[in-house]
């Protein structure tokens, strides 16, 4: 088993992403351990493209330059699976072929006995108030329960930073607040640098960290984000 990773800052150094000559995003920033940076912008501005680039899933129709660092190690040349960035998607995307407990065990790094792994998954469920849910089929869970399990699955994989791709946008208003607080609290407790992309002002406010606003090309007439 890994030692608990010492928190490192997530550094985005001179990132720019192009699509067929057109510049979508340019960014140069640093996210400290436990800090939540929010990237705001309307849909279509390329927020998800930025996350895809950071996570290592950038489609070949885009080209990107710049470097991503976790503390002292550069991760932008690594394949997605070696970057150890915990990615939370819009949908919980729990695997339907595994039970709730199986989904959590999927996240736990290899090692330990079957019983230890099981106990770890049970503990994670207890942490989010879902004791006894291990053998349930994910489809029987409510939207909020699924979101919580998805969060725990990511955290069990021991990421060194968190990337949040509008993970609250599909939840109804009452739940959104609850899940938001849970995610932010967990990320801060673990001292993970966290990057949140959203189009919801309330998300940015709740995150309480720095905010970067992206604008579409047409809105900011004449301005080229990559030229700045």
């Amino acid at each position: 088993m890994f030692d608990p990773p010492t928190p490192d800052a997530l550094i985005l150094e001179q990132i720019s992403i192009h699509q067929a000559e057109r510049c979508l995003i340019a960014l140069n920033t640093r996210i400290e351990p436990g800090e939540i940076l929010t990237i705001m912008g309307p849909s279509g501005v390329g927020k998800s493209t930025l996350l895809a680039f950071l996570a290592g899933f950038l489609a070949s129709t885009f080209s990107a330059s710049g470097q991503v660092w976790l503390g002292n190690s550069e991760i932008s040349a690594l394949p997605a699976e070696r970057r150890r960035l915990g990615l939370l998607f819009q949908d919980p995307l729990l695997f339907p072929h595994l039970s709730v407990g199986g989904n959590l065990a999927f996240g736990i790094p290899h090692g330990g006995s079957k019983r230890q792994r099981h106990a770890k998954a049970e503990q994670a469920l207890a942490d989010i108030g879902l004791t006894g849910f291990a053998n349930r089929n994910p489809e029987t869970l409510s939207g909020g329960q699924r979101a919580r399990v998805a969060l725990m699955r990511v955290l069990l994989a021991e990421p060194r930073a968190m990337l949040l791709d509008e993970p609250f946008s599909r939840l109804d208003a009452a739940l959104r607040e609850e899940i938001r607080q849970l995610v932010f609290k967990r990320a801060r407790d673990k001292g993970l640098p966290t990057l949140l992309v959203t189009h919801d002002q309330a998300d940015a406010k709740a995150a309480g960290g720095p905010v970067i606003e992206l604008t579409t090309h047409k809105n900011a007439a004449g301005s080229d984000p990559c030229g700045v």
């Binding site: 394949p79 699976e81 070696r82 695997f95 595994l98 999927f106 090692g111 079957k114 990337l163």
Partner: protein, 581 residues
């Protein structure tokens, strides 16, 4: 006005017709299969009044049991079916695991799609000519590398273990399974599943096997079963590549079925029933292995291991697919070389001189089978298209998809050995004096064309944005007008491709043409298979090439025509289009 609107609207002729389509289609598929199976049971028990069998007896089974080499025949069918299906599936899954969402993946998809149109028998003939002792492969290696001045002494095709047969089946089934997987991947959210797993540290192949495959396999299970059924029961590939003493069971059964000695028909019926059992056994064995793996793998999937055999799967998946594309292409090139060869002594790698003599000679005999192939292909495809589009349109009218049991029925002709139920149909022909010939063959082909047309068209038809029809209806168009003037034009491209798929399937059919046409209706495929067992490689190559040109032309038309029409239409709009960089 308001009152008039409240009275229930009686559905129009179009709507009523469309609602009938699923029933008609399912009936048309089930009836021949069930009747065909029923048609072999009685003769297998000695009862066939038309041939003087008027009492029940086990004599046909005793005769079958005394057939020399029966055990070998059965085991050949069983092993070639299971091994070729397992190999094809393994190649496809290894390849997807290693290369999903990469540029290589798109390249291979582009290369393999056209190879799917190559009829089984043409591919088998190509493989036979490529790998035979005096084939292109050994010529290219001789004498400089192998030291062979004479063709070496090994048995291919027709080796006693069925290796040639298995390799021919794998070559044709792998592209089919790969395309089935490609269609199923988006349906199981494969891309998202892969990203979730990889962002948690899983390497690509482990991410695929642990997170994507469990969702993918249920979606391709029926196509896999169809491959097993085909591989264990096919006749044409086994005639060309399989061993001959003894042959595989379906080949032996077909020989009894078409033997001029009518007394063999009782034996043939018993053999057909046995083949049904052998294919069922193959499917059951596969299913048992599936269950075993499923229970073994549950724990393995959540053990947290993230990097397993990554290099190996990448290397194997890539090289196997590359070898497959290379072999198929080389086989086709070899066919082209044989067709223009005059004098081609071993070990010359190139025929010299080349001439079109064989082609010219063939034109005198090609005409009739060419016309038959075309007319049967057109008729069977047209019939299948009407039924499939009717079923899919009925789905949208009922706003729900066909049930899974209906889908299984559509697959039925692909799961039951044709050598069993088609032969049963010929028994009914004999019993009731129905005429064998063109119409019977067209209906027989439709049984096999229809499932493939359905496979090809259903996804794009279901994905068509319902708002187009809603918009049409809101503008006051009746369902028939919405169908003819909105849906069909929007679906023109996939409909064209589905028709090309159907035509290709019909062109490749061997057994239905032989059995239902009572051996009197020659097509390019029946002639090519017949020629392949003779010694004339040049003429066989000409037939095989003509046979594979027809489906290729069909696909070229289906893909090219919409583009041509768009180009013709665009100049008129040019003025109104804003200039873009």
């Amino acid at each position: 006005m308001a009152a008039a609107n409240l009275t229930p609207v009686t559905p129009g002729v179009f709507t009523r017709l469309i609602r009938l389509m699923p029933v008609v289609t399912l009936g048309l598929l089930t009836l021949p299969v069930v009747a065909g199976l029923a048609g072999i049971i009685a003769p297998a028990l000695g009862w066939l009044p038309a041939l003087g069998g008027e009492s029940l007896s086990l004599a046909p089974w005793q005769a079958l049991g005394q057939t020399p080499g029966l055990g070998k025949m059965i085991s050949l069918s069983l092993t070639s079916g299971l091994i070729s299906a397992a190999l094809s599936l393994a190649i496809v899954l290894l390849f997807i695991a290693a290369f999903m969402e990469t540029a290589v993946f798109r390249l291979v998809r582009g290369l393999l799609s056209p190879l799917l149109a190559v009829p089984h028998s043409a591919a088998a003939i190509g493989v036979a000519f490529l790998l035979a002792p005096s084939g292109l492969a050994s010529r290219l290696l001789s004498p400089w590398a192998s030291g062979w001045a004479q063709p070496p002494d090994y048995l291919f095709p027709g080796d006693p273990f069925g290796l040639a047969l298995i390799s021919g089946l794998v070559l044709k089934e792998t592209p089919f399974l790969l395309l089935m997987c490609l269609a199923a991947l988006p349906q199981c959210q494969a891309s998202q599943r892969l990203k979730v797993a990889r962002s948690m540290g899983y390497s690509p192949a482990s991410a695929f096997t642990k997170a994507v495959l469990p969702g993918l396999y249920p979606l391709i299970r029926l196509p896999v079963y169809a491959v097993i059924a085909f591989a264990s029961a096919n006749v044409d590939v086994a005639i060309i590549l399989g061993p001959s003493t003894p042959p595989t069971l379906p080949v032996a059964v077909m020989r009894w079925q078409t033997d001029p000695d009518l007394s063999l028909r009782f034996l043939a019926s018993a053999g057909a029933l046995l083949q049904l059992g052998v294919t069922a056994a193959a499917l059951i064995i596969w299913w048992l292995i599936e269950q075993l793996l499923a229970s073994l793998l549950t724990c393995w999937r959540i053990n947290g291991k993230r990097h397993q055999a990554e290099q190996l799967s990448r290397w194997l998946g890539g090289s196997l697919i590359a070898a497959l594309i290379f072999l198929l292409s080389a086989a086709l090139i070899g066919l082209a070389m044989w067709s223009v060869a005059t004098w081609w002594p071993f070990p010359a790698a190139w025929p010299s001189p080349v001439s079109l003599g064989t082609w010219q000679q063939a034109t005198t005999t090609l005409g009739e089978p060419f016309r038959h192939t075309l007319s049967i292909g057109f008729a069977a495809t047209a019939l299948a298209m009407v039924l499939v589009i009717g079923c899919l349109e009925a789905e949208t009218l009922r706003t729900r998809a066909l049930s899974s049991s209906a889908i299984t029925i559509i697959y039925l002709p692909l799961l039951i050995p044709p050598v069993a139920f088609l032969y049963g149909l010929t028994q009914w022909q004999v019993q009731f004096g129905l005429s064998a010939g063109w119409l019977a063959v067209v209906l027989g082909h439709t049984l096999f064309v229809l499932p493939y047309v359905f496979l090809s068209l259903s996804e794009s038809y279901r994905r068509l944005d319902p708002r187009w029809s809603q918009l049409g209806a809101a503008l006051g168009a009746k369902p028939s007008r919405v169908f003819w003037q909105i849906k069909l034009p929007l679906m023109a491209a996939p409909i064209g491709v589905a028709a090309a798929v159907g035509f290709a399937v019909s062109v490749g059919q061997y057994l239905p043409t032989i059995l239902l046409g009572a051996g009197r209706l020659a097509t390019l495929t029946t002639d090519a298979v017949a020629l392949s067992s003779g010694g004339d490689r040049r003429l066989t190559a000409v037939y095989a090439l003509t046979q594979l040109t027809l489906p290729a032309l069909g696909f070229a038309l289906a893909l090219g025509l919409p583009r041509l029409l768009r180009q013709r239409r665009s100049p008129r709009h040019k003025k109104h289009r804003p200039l873009s960089a």
